[in-house]
């Protein structure tokens, strides 16, 4: 019997038991739509994290101090005061390096009239603005003359400005106190839209020289001022691996260290991107896997209903065999039926999953939304997987039907 004829028979038989067929299909619909929704949310999370990291710049390289060692005991990475302003100056002349921004940071109490908050203060040079792609909502960034003069000026992140002044407008020119000392606001940054544990808008910037002398203290190492981090901007993201190598080599020769015993760490924004996408990919696989379980449960539903159907139609199978159906005819008939069920569930499930993904995408989650991405590949995956489920769970009932002995099937009551 041809596939087309089998399809007609399958539709006729499913139509005869509408409610039962619909409930069976529902199992697959739930499974497939869960897979589609979960995968698309995972993809969306990945895309949103990636774009946040890329907004900082993909051609960034960070040099941070290694861990502080004393008597063979290592403290946390970044605690050793081994980076100096001299290192930063040396890095600036490397090939492929566009700009270098040394920084020191600490926490400080900022107050304006009755309002105050605790925030991260970063001492930076003027190059920091370009390296970190910072744009100003109002005013100006820290200038060379501020740096030279150790000026008491500050640039506020948008969240800080909003906290203290309830607005980002009209803030420039105001005087705030940082740890009790008066500072003049010279600029307010645009929002970077960051969220989570590290909010890029919740920090303030002062000249590096001012920070070292008056805010976060001034350690010295090998006769130069210690800094906490050096941001290096490569000419393009393609140059990043080469620049990472060059920077590492130069730092090793300056600090007289050997690989494995470095007192500094070089990481690129691409590493951070890689780590973040790895996390979201794991999350996606995890969510998809859980959704896949519900698809398997739906498949068991198909198997259950097909077994019932084979038993109910034993006489029909006997009759078909009596008028000339071969084993493979019966096998194909029941396989087609289970695959029609699962494919139908798959198609409805794709539509339904797409809908769920977009509903979730429109819900605000912790101040940011995840824009779900329904890829063609996840649609294909879910559809093919649901067909495979139909095939897999249909084989046993269909084989059972095909193996029935005609004489016994005909006499079945």
């Amino acid at each position: 019997m041809s596939l087309y004829q089998n399809l007609l028979e399958a539709l006729e038989s499913l139509n005869a038991n509408k409610l039962r067929s619909m409930l069976t299909v529902l199992g697959i619909v739930i499974g497939v739509s869960a897979v589609i929704a979960m995968l698309s949310i995972g993809r969306g999370a990945r895309a949103s994290i990636t774009s946040q990291i890329e907004s900082i710049g993909t051609n960034l390289i960070y040099v941070t101090p290694g861990s502080f060692r004393q008597g063979g005991i290592a403290s946390a990475a970044g605690t050793a005061g081994t980076l100096t302003i001299e290192d930063a100056n040396a890095l600036a002349s490397q090939a492929g390096v566009v700009a270098v921004a040394p920084e020191v940071d600490g926490r400080v109490q900022i107050s304006y009239l009755g309002q105050n908050s605790n925030t991260r203060v970063v001492g930076v040079t003027p190059s920091y603005q370009d390296v970190r792609n910072l744009t100003l909502a109002d005013g100006a960034f820290i200038s060379d003359s501020n740096q030279v003069a150790h000026s008491s000026v500050v640039v506020l992140g948008s969240a800080v400005a909003t906290n203290l002044f309830s607005s980002t407008a009209g803030v420039v020119g105001q005087s705030v106190r940082l740890g009790g000392q008066p500072f003049r606001v010279i600029g307010v940054l645009d929002s970077k839209g960051g969220s989570g544990f590290f909010n890029q808008d919740d920090q303030i910037f002062v000249p590096l020289s001012t920070a070292q002398t008056r805010l976060v203290g001034n350690e010295r190492f090998r006769g130069a001022n210690v800094i906490n981090q050096i941001s290096v901007e490569a000419a393009s993201s393609n140059d990043v691996p080469q620049v990472v190598n060059n920077v590492t080599e130069l730092m090793r020769s300056r600090h007289r260290t050997v690989p494995g015993a470095d007192d500094f760490t070089v990481t690129s924004q691409q590493d951070a991107l890689g780590a973040a996408t790895q996390v979201t990919d794991t999350l996606t696989i995890f969510l998809g896997g859980i959704a896949g379980i519900s698809l398997a449960v739906g498949g068991i539903g198909i198997m259950n209903i097909m077994l019932t159907s084979v038993t109910e139609r034993t006489r029909e199978i006997g009759l078909r065999k009596a008028i000339g159906a071969r084993r493979r005819d019966i096998l194909l008939q029941f396989l087609v039926e289970s695959m029609v069920l699962s494919l139908l569930g798959g198609l409805i499930g794709v539509a339904f999953g797409w809908l769920i993904a977009h509903l979730i995408g429109s819900v605000q989650l912790g101040g940011s939304t995840i824009k779900p991405v329904v890829g063609l590949d996840s649609v294909l995956l879910a559809t093919l997987f649901s067909m495979a489920v139909g095939l897999f769970f249909g084989i046993y009932p269909a084989t059972r039907a095909a193996r029935l002995l005609p004489v016994e099937a005909l006499r079945y009551e």
Partner: protein
């Protein structure tokens, strides 16, 4: 064309062995009309299953057109059932969801006809056969919309679809009233006489059996009498 020699059939019902046939031998020539009679439990249904290639004997040999059926595999037996044998059952065994026309086309689908052939010749042939059994105006009815006699006519039409050599009828009038039963018997006997189809009818009804040329009586798995 049918040759049975020393057929036996033993069923195992748990630990009990039931000997349904204990050595049955006979020949039926092409074009004969034969009734197989016997009490229930005499083995007539078992014999019918073996003659119809629905089951194989435990021992003994069954030749159909000179071919030993014991040597055939499942698919070859299915082909013989499809091409050479038409079955008529007591309970009609029509597919309840399919139309009469579809039921009659079904053997063609299993005979390997492709879709376009089925739509053209298949449909024509099924319609012609249904006309010949008097159901020309019931083509698109479902079995449940037909009377018992009409359902049995549809079943006979289905048996004729692949132009078999032999009709095997198992109590064909068992579910019908006597008047309708007589009509069905006339139809079957008519097919035997006009087309030369071999007709084997299993029945316990003497008036039905009397319409055939030859009666084989079974008793406890053995042939009691075989009279022409």
């Amino acid at each position: 064309m049918i040759e049975a020699s020393e057929l036996t059939k033993t069923y195992h019902m748990g630990s009990v062995e039931v000997q349904a046939l204990r050595g049955v031998s006979f020949r039926i020539e092409r074009g004969e009309a034969v009734a197989i009679m016997g009490q229930s439990g005499s083995g007539k249904s078992t014999l019918m299953s073996i003659l119809g290639c629905l089951d194989l004997p435990t021992s003994g040999q069954y030749f159909l057109d000179g071919k030993n059926t014991a040597a055939l595999n499942d698919d070859e037996l299915a082909t013989i059932r499809n091409r050479k044998i038409g079955f008529v059952f007591q309970q009609f065994n029509l597919l309840p969801r399919a139309t009469v026309l579809r039921n009659v086309e079904l053997p063609l689908l299993y005979a390997g006809m492709n879709d376009s052939q089925v739509r053209k010749e298949g449909r024509q042939r099924a319609e012609a056969i249904l006309n010949s059994v008097g159901l020309g105006d019931r083509l698109n009815h479902r079995p449940s919309e037909l009377s018992g006699g009409q359902q049995q006519r549809a079943a006979i039409a289905r048996a004729l679809t692949n132009e078999p050599d032999m009709i095997l009828a198992d109590e064909p009038t068992g579910n019908l009233d006597s008047h309708t039963g007589a009509e069905i018997m006339n139809l079957l006997i008519g097919l035997n006489q006009s087309r030369g189809l071999t007709l084997v009818i299993v029945t316990h009804d003497a008036t039905i059996a009397a319409q055939t040329q030859r009666i084989i009586r079974l008793r406890d798995g053995l042939i009691e009498t075989d009279q022409s």
